[in-house]
């Protein structure tokens, strides 16, 4: 009887105009290769966020989609949105 626990990003999604990277991390417990349980933990990486502590695959995705143009566009969007809210 061998219990094994694995933790890995099992889903990486790129969503929205500003290409937010949504990462789902699955924790899977198996016994002799048979899955006993699977649970999910999520986090999101926005343009401009530090992703240096992410898994290599996640880092590669972020590097590909969070270009300087995307980061600048997202920063401008946040600034405009804040100004709009301040005017309410």
């Amino acid at each position: 009887m061998a219990l094994e626990k694995t933790v890995a990003a099992d889903k990486i999604e790129i969503v929205g105009q500003f290409k937010a990277v949504q990462v789902r991390t699955a924790t899977v417990i198996t016994e002799d290769g048979v899955e006993l349980s699977r649970s999910f933990h999520r986090h999101v990486i926005q343009p401009g966020d530090d992703y240096s502590n992410e898994e290599a695959e996640v880092q590669a995705v972020c590097a590909a989609v969070h270009t300087d143009e995307v980061k600048a566009a997202y920063a401008a969007f946040l600034e405009a949105q804040s100004a709009e809210l301040a005017g309410e």
């Binding site: 969503v15 929205g16 105009q17 937010a20 789902r24 999520r42 926005q46 946040l78 949105q81």
Partner: protein, 176 residues
């Protein structure tokens, strides 16, 4: 004729349930796996349910001027996603914080795609801070961040970052 499916079961020799004489009320489904989505109440895009998921996330409290960091005794977030609607429940308690400015709750599990900021319902209690009006939150478009407000008369004011707090939040928003 009764049809019973379980997670490891298969159907053989039946291509049409109606022809086989199986009425829907006779079918008992146990742990079926649907690899696509299902249509409920119609066949339009608005009737299509393509995702269900539940899990956890790790919310943070930050300041709007200086993000800072908190010393948490509790830092728990759970979510349920049904179609494009995500509901989160958060409980955080911290004794000190190095940030400054207004109170932000960050690191929600999905980016908001509501097309505009959405207002949500919030239940909160803050140690060392009291509010005479309603405390609520909203979420900016394309963000994973909640802004926290309280009402004073007809004015909504952002809550200043408490040095210590216990806060519970229930919030729903739409995602892509």
């Amino acid at each position: 004729m009764a049809l019973v499916l379980n997670g490891s079961g298969t159907i053989t020799g039946v291509t049409d349930l109606a022809t086989a004489g199986v009425a829907l009320e006779d079918a008992a489904l146990t742990d079926p796996v649907v690899t696509g989505g299902i249509y409920l109440g119609g066949t339009g895009a608005a009737n299509y349910l393509d995702d269900y998921e539940e899990g956890t996330f790790t919310p943070t409290v930050e300041g709007s001027t200086t993000a800072g960091s908190a010393s948490y005794s509790s830092q728990n977030g759970v979510y349920t996603k049904i179609g494009n609607l995500v509901t989160v429940n958060i409980f955080m308690s911290y004794g000190s914080h190095t940030g400054s400015g207004n109170m932000l709750v960050r690191n929600l599990p999905f980016a908001n795609a509501s097309g505009k900021q959405v207002d949500g319902c919030m239940v909160t209690w803050n140690t060392g801070t009291t509010y005479s009006g309603t405390v609520f939150s909203d979420m900016n478009n394309a963000s994973t961040q909640l802004n926290i407000y309280y009402t004073a008369g007809s004015t909504a004011t952002q809550v200043a970052l408490p040095s210590g707090a216990a806060v519970a939040i229930h919030f729903s928003y739409r995602v892509s």
